[in-house]
């Protein structure tokens, strides 16, 4: 036991006492003639009164040991039910370990126990033995937040877990708020087989054409130390890049980044294959595919027209007015036989840049439009058409808009370009018929023709259109071509319905044929029927999207999932919805329906919420082991916008599920904590990382000396004594 002495006076009281003593000093010369005994009595009295102003306090102290606050969290996730090579459930093993070392741990720390799943639940020692696993997966961020709100912040945290959880984006802020080291104690199989798995692939869902993007691959390697691990990235069967990494430790996460170029439009499928040096039976070979949608920032279009026409002016205005198009157009304003009343320098004409169009700049474009262009009239070499054919074969898009010069009369029959057409041309040059007609839908379900919100509405719109004027006749439809619109009566030479709009793929590109140059009539029809007001724009916009591949790109897309989902709940899926320009569509505009088919065949509609604009999160709980299928259907602007589906196998709490050291290390490393396997923990080493036990002096009792009324009585007594002395010695 010890004591301490202190003053509790405030600044005002200090100042008052100082003034009091200063006044005493100034009056000293008046005291000097008095007898010494009288002076002493007065001084004592003054000191007592001044001392009371200082408010003296006497504390009685006891010394005691302060142990660091240690929070011990036991993962109660579903996977902790799994038995491993210790023939005990992981949860049980974790509890037993804690109980076995309780005395030793409590000697070094003040322990708070928690069971952790979707949050942390405080336990006392008696509850520990009966602790059961939960269906909800361990959520580290929520658990750590709960520790903070439970009381005084812990100085160190132990998490006993098998790592079957996702740390997620919220972990880092939660660890920062906690501010204490977290030690992760791995509860799982002792035996670690040699294994290789692709832990994650990070790649953007959408990239722009010709841009470069990075794909990160994480590979978990167990007991492959000293081995070379080769990562091979393939696209369309070709090896794009390889990385050879060296595993140096028994457990290691190998990471590689591939920088790729988006060379072609549309959905591009890639596959990562991982293999180990010396793995003769290929037991450790793993691979995983992923898909990237390549889109255009702007579609570059070359529009070459044979002569000025209403078709040209309206289609050009339509293409030019779309901010997603970058249009370069040329129209032949004058033929060689035309005469002008003024010199050429008074004409706005420019030389026909045939070489630039067909050779030099051709491959800069995504779409080439030939409208009623008579190739033969300009004595252009056949190599130009050969080049245009190569352009299509290599992924470019070609749109042929007919007119009397667009086909046989234009010099295309037997040319290299004819091979790309969805039709074969007639030998007869007079292959164009001027006649009013209403085309009929030849492929009702083709996405290109879905201009209405519903199938019935699309058909009604097509039926409401005014007749077109003039069409080209053809010999036949090529095998593999799709006829979308056909003439109601006219036939090809082979007897098939005559195509008015037909498409086909040639090489890696697409070709569309429009056998009339009177679609401007659809534009003007919008003036007499409001329902048709946007038909023309929609038709040609969809034509460009179809030709450039963006029509088929998924506008509704799940983020990639691993083929096997670990045993945790809820399983979280992410879905994105884009508009036609691949901008995120806010949830308020989307009608989203999600259907979840369980392994037993039952279906439900799980809840979803918008995590950020255009990104929807779906959480699945009460999962059963087996194959699950999730299908999402989105409606936007009142029409079916798109759908996507994913399959995954939910593993359930497997006894052979590996111990996820990566997840546990991600939990411990940022806090300067440590990861250790539970079965080989050196407890003393673990305890030594705790803050030391501190000896602290605690105040047992406090005496406020200045509150004792005897001080005043003493002062009065002294002053009475002083008065008595002065009276006796004749000073009064």
């Amino acid at each position: 036991m010890s004591f301490s002495f202190a003053f509790e006076s405030s600044a005002v009281e200090w100042a008052t006492a100082a003034l009091f003593l200063l006044g005493l000093a100034l009056l000293w010369r008046f005291l000097a003639p008095l007898p010494a005994a009288v002076r002493r009595l007065r001084i004592f009295t003054a000191l007592i009164l001044a001392g009371l102003l200082f408010k003296p306090v006497l504390s009685r102290l006891d010394s005691r040991s302060i142990r660091p606050r240690l929070s011990v969290v036991i993962d109660r996730g579903p996977s902790m039910q799994g038995k491993d090579d210790f023939d005990r459930a992981r949860l049980k093993r974790a509890v037993d370990w804690i109980l076995r070392h309780r005395a030793e741990i409590e000697k070094h720390a003040e322990v708070s126990l928690y069971g952790g799943a979707a949050g942390a639940h405080r336990l006392d020692w008696n509850e520990l033995e009966s602790l059961q696993a939960d269906n909800a997966a361990f959520e580290p961020a929520s658990v750590l937040s709960d520790l903070l709100s439970a009381g005084a912040p812990p100085e160190r945290v132990w998490v006993l877990s098998d790592g079957a959880f996702e740390n997620g984006e919220t972990l880092a802020p939660a660890l920062a708020r906690l501010g204490s080291p977290v030690d992760a104690l791995g509860v799982g199989p002792k035996r670690i087989p040699k294994s290789l798995s692709i832990a994650g692939i990070e790649t953007p869902d959408f990239v722009f054409l010709h841009s470069r993007f990075e794909t990160g691959v994480s590979v978990e390697a167990h007991r492959l130390e000293g081995k070379s691990v080769t990562l091979t990235l393939r696209h369309e069967g070709k090896i794009l890049q390889k990385r050879v990494l060296q595993a140096k430790r028994p457990f290691e996460i190998l990471r590689a980044t591939f920088t790729l170029e988006a060379a072609a439009l549309g959905s591009q499928d890639y596959r990562i294959a991982v293999l180990v040096e010396g793995d003769q039976d290929k037991r450790l070979r793993v691979s995983r595919g992923f898909r990237v949608e390549v889109i255009r920032q702007k579609y570059r279009i070359m529009y070459l027209a044979g002569r000025p026409s209403f078709e040209y002016s309206h289609l050009r205005a339509q293409l030019k007015g779309d901010p997603n198009h970058e249009l370069v157009s040329f129209v032949i304003l004058r033929n060689p036989e035309d005469v002008s009343p003024v010199p050429d320098n008074q004409l706005s004409l420019i030389p026909f840049p045939a070489t630039e169009i067909f050779v030099k700049n051709l491959f800069q474009f995504d779409l080439f439009i030939l409208e009623n262009f008579a190739y033969y009239r300009f004595n252009l070499p056949a190599a130009y058409l050969e080049n245009l054919k190569r352009f299509v074969a290599q992924g470019g898009a070609l749109l042929i808009v007919g007119g009397e010069n667009a086909f046989t009369k234009g010099g295309y029959r037997g040319s290299p370009l004819e091979e790309t057409f969805p039709v074969t041309l007639l030998p007869d040059k007079d292959d164009f018929v001027t006649e009013l007609f209403k085309p009929t839908l030849a492929a009702v379900d083709h996405p290109f023709l879905a201009v209405g919100d519903t199938r019935a509405e699309s058909k009604a719109l097509w039926d409401a259109l005014p007749p077109l004027d003039g069409y080209a006749r053809f010999s036949d439809v090529r095998p593999g071509a799709s006829v979308l619109l056909s003439h109601p009566r006219a036939k090809t030479a082979s007897g098939r319905p005559l195509p008015i709009v037909a498409v086909q793929e040639f090489g890696r590109g697409k070709v569309m044929l429009v056998g009339t140059d009177s679609t401007w009539r659809w534009k003007l029809a919008g003036g007499r029927d409001w329902k048709l007001s946007s038909f023309y724009a929609r038709f040609w916009s969809r034509a460009v999207q179809y030709l450039t591949g963006s029509l088929e790109l998924k506008k509704v897309k799940f983020s990639p999932l691993p083929e096997r989902m670990p045993a945790r709940e809820p399983a979280i899926l992410s879905l994105r919805v884009f508009d036609e320009h691949f901008r995120a569509v806010p949830g308020v505009d989307v009608d989203l329906k999600v259907v979840w088919s369980r392994p037993d065949g039952t279906t439900t509609s799980p809840a979803h919420f918008e995590r950020e604009p255009g990104v929807f999160q779906i959480e699945l709980s009460e999962l059963a082991e087996g194959r699950h299928r999730i299908r999402a259907i989105a409606r936007y602007r009142g029409q079916l916008w798109g759908e996507d589906g994913v399959n995954f196998v939910w593993e359930g709490p497997r006894s052979d599920a590996p111990l996820n050291r990566r997840a546990l290390q991600e939990l411990s490393e940022p806090t300067r904590g440590e990861y250790r396997d539970l079965y080989r923990i050196d407890l003393q080493a673990l305890l030594s990382s705790l803050p030391p036990v501190r000896e602290e002096q605690a105040v047992r009792s406090r005496q406020h000396l200045w509150t004792w009324s005897g001080w005043l009585a003493l002062a009065v007594f002294l002053l009475l004594g002083e008065w008595f002395l002065r009276r006796r010695r004749g000073y009064l």
Binding site: R307, S309, F310, G321, V331, V342, G403, L436, G470, D517
Partner: protein, 247 residues
Amino acid sequence: MKRLTFLLMSVFLLSAQGHAQIGDKFVWSQLRIGEEWDPYPGVHSEILKFVVDTTSVLVIPERRVLTISDAKLFGSPFLLLAGKGAPPALDAAAVGRLRDYLTSGGFLWIEDTSGMANGPFDAWVRNTLATVLPDSDLKPLPKDHVLYKTFFLMRRIGGRVMVSGSVEGVDWAGKTVVVYSRNDLLGAWVRDPLGNPVFACVPGGEAQRLEAKKLSLNIVMYALTGSYKADAVHTPFILQKMRSGAP
């Protein structure tokens, strides 16, 4: 040869009156409002022949005459309205139909053939356009408007008379959908049976007539090509020609 083809087509099409088929050819459609809708009945043939001889445009030689309520209005992307006196005021249905036509891709060339600065036709045009397109003003086209370079590079305009130094127009959605000329461009085209001009062009004479013809053709080409000549790819060529002193 092209003239012969043009004449043969004229004969053929005259025998096929009433058919709407025009393929991708230019059809001269003229609006019939009131009694004085056709001050120069045969002038379209002169203009179309000039278009055929000078450019690659193919035309239907036959003129199509329409009223605003005609079903073929929305199948006629080019429309001429000419007049001297004030036509009767359009009723609400006609105003709405004309507005629908212009805002859905139609083009209207209005020609005041009266030769007067503030004649009754001019007043009717201004009042009517203000009703048809109330949000768009009729205003002079700027000197660099693409209309002045759709085929001929023009620095001045012509006409039978010179009432105005500029052509006026109404824009809709970035495109000039109405072109209004007050210098009687059509009058500069009129010939007698011997091929001589019927009217003198004052005060500029034949040079003014040539400018009138050039502007007429440019208007037709504007209806068929839009802002094509405003594309950046043409700019250096056009500037070079303008710097070379022409026209």
